[in-house]
Symmetry: C3
Subunit: 405 residues, 3 copies
Amino acid sequence: MEKNVESILRSGDVLFLMLGAVMVFAMHAGFAFLEIGSVRKKNQVNGLVKILSDWSVSTVVYFLVGFPIAYGICFLRPAEALISQDQGYQLVRFFFLLCFAACIPAIISGGIAERAKFWTQLAAGAVFAGLIYPVFESIIWGRYSGPLQGWIEDLTGAGFHDFAGSVVVHSIGGWIALPAMIVLGPRLGRYVKQKSRPIPISSIPFLALGSWILAVGWFGFNVMSAQSLTGISGLVAVNSLMSMVGGVLAAVFFTRRDPGFVHNGALAGLVAICASSDVVHPVAAFFIGAIGSFIFIKGFTWETEKLRIDDVLGVWPLHGLVGSWGGIAAGIFGYKALGGMGGVSFLGQLIGTSVAVVYAFAGGFIVYKLLDAVFGIRLNEDEEFRGADLSIHNIDAYPEETIKP
Amino acid sequence: MEKNVESILRSGDVLFLMLGAVMVFAMHAGFAFLEIGSVRKKNQVNGLVKILSDWSVSTVVYFLVGFPIAYGICFLRPAEALISQDQGYQLVRFFFLLCFAACIPAIISGGIAERAKFWTQLAAGAVFAGLIYPVFESIIWGRYSGPLQGWIEDLTGAGFHDFAGSVVVHSIGGWIALPAMIVLGPRLGRYVKQKSRPIPISSIPFLALGSWILAVGWFGFNVMSAQSLTGISGLVAVNSLMSMVGGVLAAVFFTRRDPGFVHNGALAGLVAICASSDVVHPVAAFFIGAIGSFIFIKGFTWETEKLRIDDVLGVWPLHGLVGSWGGIAAGIFGYKALGGMGGVSFLGQLIGTSVAVVYAFAGGFIVYKLLDAVFGIRLNEDEEFRGADLSIHNIDAYPEETIKP
Amino acid sequence: MEKNVESILRSGDVLFLMLGAVMVFAMHAGFAFLEIGSVRKKNQVNGLVKILSDWSVSTVVYFLVGFPIAYGICFLRPAEALISQDQGYQLVRFFFLLCFAACIPAIISGGIAERAKFWTQLAAGAVFAGLIYPVFESIIWGRYSGPLQGWIEDLTGAGFHDFAGSVVVHSIGGWIALPAMIVLGPRLGRYVKQKSRPIPISSIPFLALGSWILAVGWFGFNVMSAQSLTGISGLVAVNSLMSMVGGVLAAVFFTRRDPGFVHNGALAGLVAICASSDVVHPVAAFFIGAIGSFIFIKGFTWETEKLRIDDVLGVWPLHGLVGSWGGIAAGIFGYKALGGMGGVSFLGQLIGTSVAVVYAFAGGFIVYKLLDAVFGIRLNEDEEFRGADLSIHNIDAYPEETIKP
């Protein structure tokens, strides 16, 4: 019977992470539909192919390079060796964490939409998912987490806490996207004589579909971050829910029920809560999400209207700013005095969050500057005007409407 | 090892309900797409925002008021206390049951589509999810279930059986929606000089997408109603399947393959089987679904053509009539003589089902009459004509097609 | 406590297969959207209704006939007897395997789209899901697997290995579809004076949505083919992933990023890996998928341009050719010398795969020839020209655009 119990524990862990991986994999369909709803019709095919191609390249590089960097586990051994000890637990763990790594190019994709070259962007994604992201992952969650975490703990009494990646995933992705958009410049016609001229999006239903898929999958992102069945916590699930709901309601009240903000508000709430979903109270989670949504709304307006950075899906405020907020929020609402579980420090969260911002911005800037200098990262004017679909993929999203047979 | 087994049992229950909650949460995307496929394009944004906002408000009120009413458990204690005993099982149980409560406004939303005011409807949803529904829940499933269930059992030999909510959820929702639609009146142009003029819907693909999402999530709705891993029953899953299939095939045969009826027929089958999915035979389930679908088809035609009630998605026949049928069907096909598990009584089912009809209709009528008198619940003619999207949300569903940058 | 452990094992198995069943059930929504994206708008409703109706008919015939044929288990006993031993494990096993059986008509549906009669196709689907498929299932996986598997094992040293159905499901489906398309003939205008004139498809976003739904659900298809919780293997999950990714990247490189091929390339990778997902190395899986995708691309072009077979979704190359490739690939990359788990034989795989091709082609040919002779299987010219939506369903996909109220 003891064997049975061990077998259940092992199988349960594999199932647990497999379900998490599938749910977060599904989120990438959400990234795709969120993007194609938010761009013009002439760039929808490009959005779809980009997300799926980025995912695929990320899988290869994270399998061969990224995961080994972050956790010191290499899969280039016979199949039998991969499952003999643990029924392939490390394999599904790779799958689960790949889904996080692959968020980086998926996040960037939404910011630079409608004007980036295909191959250079694919290459950039490979560098982020295979190298830049895993190095940061390794010093926070992975095998080199000793030094930085130890130093923060010595200094503040608690390590840097990021349960499911507000900072490690979202903030890194958003702060890499920022230099990408700066180097790339705005879309043609987005700013005319320093005046902002918003470009109408194609489809609220697709945007909403993307948001729903992301929101549903997000429960795998957060809950399964426990990485073991017996580590599951109902608190993580309900905090994710409450923060999402806070994000929605803040957007409902602060934007006159704007559908784009309401559906992205849900996502802002979910970005904000990743870090602290295991240590705060559900009521705190509600406010973390509501504040996150407010930051997203104000940040997006400030970015696109004042800074004149053309961030098509608002990925820098959504993942960068709100992700950073999530990191800091864990250091506020995690305290026992505010109903939290304790074991966090404000200063520690501030340090970890700041390191991520600097690291991601610098990494993104260098990669995009280099790629721009060597290959060029932007479509030429004619290609952009025709749309990425026809320029890059030789077909548009609704061929029946445009091609006469 | 005993500790391990206990830990697995506890974690298994949390995972079980968490998966159920996520599946039923996803159903709300289904409600949204079912609605936007069934309305005109000028009301699609409104459908999307309404469902997500209703969900969010329901979460808050059910967390603070509804769940405590129904089950006597309050979460306003430190986070540590929420997970110390049970890894947060009660939290995910709240999440799971919230998904049921939030169905009430989602069901109503489809009936009153294209003409209701935003804020008053949001308020109505809050009252239903936070108060009206939980009170009924408490006397059937919850902490006050003693008196009514006891009385029915004394009278008939068996309590009122509603495994997954044909009556508690769907019938309550549908019978609240009926007075809402009566008080609200039909859409402009829906009936002209007492003659019915059906308004063409915008998108069968979106309607079908909504139906698929609902159908898939429904297996969480029914199977996870066991609320504990070791209580899982394959019978519930297969009965749900068979009833859905009966609903589809009845619609295929009785409506000349009409896509709206076929996709809603699947849902009719699923509504009908909730109550009895744990006590009937799969063959009986098939007929329960087929009869449910037939009731939906005839009921919808009768309602909209004869009674001239403008029920955009047919929510009264689908959830109200078919939900009531589901309650009664458990008292027919549940008997051992018909292959069922026994332990049900026809009279008991009839009583429980009737109480729900009266309660819901009265509750809905009072709430909507009051709201109508105090705030008004209907858009004015001009707003309705322009569409709820532009009137309420200042944007339509496909901005690229309508806004020149 | 022993009772607890047994209960967990039993419940875990039921949950495991239930989750798998739901995931593969969801794939049928994927079949539907893949099809409606790939046909013209005037045939979208038909695609949606066909998939759901085929599913429903398949459920009934597989419940009453197919599953009993394949596994010797009949459910026409009282409900109590269905769950007394195993909490309904055999019921969910039926549900899970039904999802496989129902793939046969869903696969065919995509090939014969836009021109087939409704009722005869529904009847054909019933014969395949209720009889032709289960008979083959029974001799490979089911209760009559002794003779053929024994003979292959005697001959080659290893039985025919098809873990999750590259051959049993996909190849059978694809090779039945081939004679269906031959008997039916091409759509009007598809080939004019022997010249190929491709018919533009309606919607890349719907095609992509279908592909995503299929890809996500596929992890249930493969991983849950273990059919017991403690049999779960992380290798199956990651091999599925790697093969899918190989399929995507091959299509990205070989087709100039064509969105149709890229999204179907993912599916080609997933078809190819089913058979061997438990016995090959992830790196081998990548190449199995990449080669599968290449076969799909070349096969589709050859089929539609040279053979002039009008295969709307490319189901014969995708499921037939690539499914057969998957069967053979298990006999190549499964060897220990190539990093695999061993226990397979190239010759055995070749034999099993070939038997399936002959069986399916013959079965499909006979059924369609008979149906064609007796009832006719094709819409008349006028019906086809108007589109299946109006001809068969009396409504088109976007009524608001075409009907004036």
